[in-house]
């Protein structure tokens, strides 16, 4: 399971008339999209416009009030309770286990995901994100930028078909941003990558942008 040998699967996410309210307050409505080929797709909108809400719906953590969202791998539809297997997720509000070391975190994640822990692959990723010499330190001692890098490792470890990055470059220094942009570009050749962000630089990477402001009321 290294990056070079990953199969290119036809993965498709189809969104139909997606509407979400919190209580009786409308967040967005009537979103129709199909994401069926590799690339970088942006999701933009000001704070509170529902960026995090829609990416959580993509992950199956939140359910929409009306409309449907489906994931397909090849010709077969994937049940919503196993979408998590095909998704890699990074966001500022994702939290890691403080009391364990970085490598233990990744090992627990892979065990809970029911995949065998491969130290080679995890080292490869630690190397890539430049925190290999700190992999045996407790996450408690990490800076927020390093935690962000570790989250990328956790998101990529199981080689998912879809990557969802909510504000991927927050807390990162210039070198970190550079690494992340390179990784995103590399991933986008064979996977569907979502970027939910307000950052101009992030959005410029995207081939297509979903502006949530356009779905407020109609």
């Amino acid at each position: 399971m290294t990056d070079g040998t990953s199969r290119i699967r036809e993965y498709k996410i189809e969104i139909n008339n997606l509407t979400k309210n919190f209580g009786r307050r409308l967040i967005f409505k009537g979103i129709d999209r199909v994401y069926d080929r590799p690339g970088i797709y942006g999701i933009s909108g000001p704070n509170g416009s529902g960026k995090s809400t829609i990416v959580k719906i993509f992950c199956g953590i939140l359910s929409p009030n009306s409309g449907t969202i489906t994931h397909h791998s090849g010709a077969s539809k994937i049940e919503s309770n196993v979408w998590y297997r095909h998704i890699g997720f990074v966001s500022p509000y994702l939290v890691l286990y403080d009391e364990f070391t970085a490598e233990e975190n990744i090992a627990f994640f892979s065990a809970i995901r029911e995949i065998n822990f491969d130290a080679g692959r995890s080292d490869f990723l630690f190397e890539k994100f430049g925190i290999i010499d700190r992999k045996n330190d407790l996450v408690k001692t990490y800076s927020s930028g390093m935690k962000q890098r570790l989250k990328f490792i956790g998101a990529l470890y199981h080689n998912p078909d879809v990557l969802i990055f909510d504000e991927p470059t927050s807390n990162l220094d210039i070198a970190g941003k550079e690494t992340v942009y390179n990784v995103i570009k590399e991933l986008s050749k064979e996977k569907i990558v979502f970027l939910a962000s307000n950052d101009r630089e992030d959005i410029d990477l995207c081939s297509e942008v979903l502006d949530l402001n356009l779905y407020k009321s109609k």
């Binding site: 359910s63 196993v82 998704i87 939290v95 890691l96 286990y97 029911e114």
Partner: protein, 220 residues
């Protein structure tokens, strides 16, 4: 199931690192039992009362410790991480197994303390008590785990937990107190088969209801 066990292993390692339950629950048991000893003084209390007090201590210790399974994940914000790692059923199973282990070790300590400190904590039929203890502990863990999942999502977690859990645990505790009395009186297992069956039904109903409903609680 594998991922439930992996989660169980994670919680155990976390417990070993942080020693939360060992320290705070252990102390809680010591404090509660001492309060009972102080309030009794030199009074000789009868055996039924020690049986009742035993389950009172079990109830309050459970209420102080078992909510942590979900509350800690929710407070630290790792609940989302878990949502992205496994199916809800696996999460519930993992947490349930952890709480079962916790309830068993905790109640075993309480039982040992009670038999050392109270002369009247004696069973004519120990086997019946052991049966009730085992089936009862599973029931306590099942209800406490699902209530913990509910209060993890609500405010004022600490005070709310016993309030929500008590009515749900009441039939279980009443039956357990009854069985403890019967074990003290020396009933055979077949004499008390109805009560044991009630306990067993409670476990089955609670575990299956929790499985069905956990999905709704777990997803935001």
């Amino acid at each position: 199931m594998k991922s439930a066990l992996a989660l169980l292993k994670k919680d155990f390692s976390s417990e070993i690192r942080t020693r939360y339950a060992i320290n705070s629950l252990g102390m809680f048991i010591v404090v509660t039992v001492s309060v009972i000893l102080f309030s009794i003084g030199n009074e000789k209390i009868n055996e039924y009362l020690t049986g009742g007090l035993f389950w009172v201590v079990v109830f309050f210790t459970s209420m102080s410790g078992l909510s942590r399974a979900f509350v800690s994940e929710e407070e630290r914000g790792t609940a989302l991480t878990l949502q992205l790692l496994a199916k809800p059923e696996s999460i519930y199973s993992g947490k349930f197994l952890f709480n079962v282990a916790l309830v068993f070790s905790m109640n075993l300590i309480i039982a040992v303390l009670f038999s050392l400190l109270f002369e009247m904590f004696l069973f004519k039929n120990l086997l019946l008590f052991v049966f009730a203890f085992i089936v009862g502990n599973v029931g306590v863990a099942a209800s406490s785990t699902i209530i913990a999942a509910i209060i993890a999502k609500a405010g004022s977690k600490g005070t709310l937990y016993p309030v929500l859990a008590f009515p749900i645990l009441l039939p279980l505790i009443l039956t357990l107190i009854e069985l403890t009395k019967q074990a003290m009186d020396g009933n055979t297992v077949s004499d008390s088969s109805v009560e044991l069956a009630v306990l067993f039904c409670y476990d089955v109903i609670m575990i299956s209801a929790a499985y069905l409903l956990f999905d709704f609680i777990w997803k935001d």
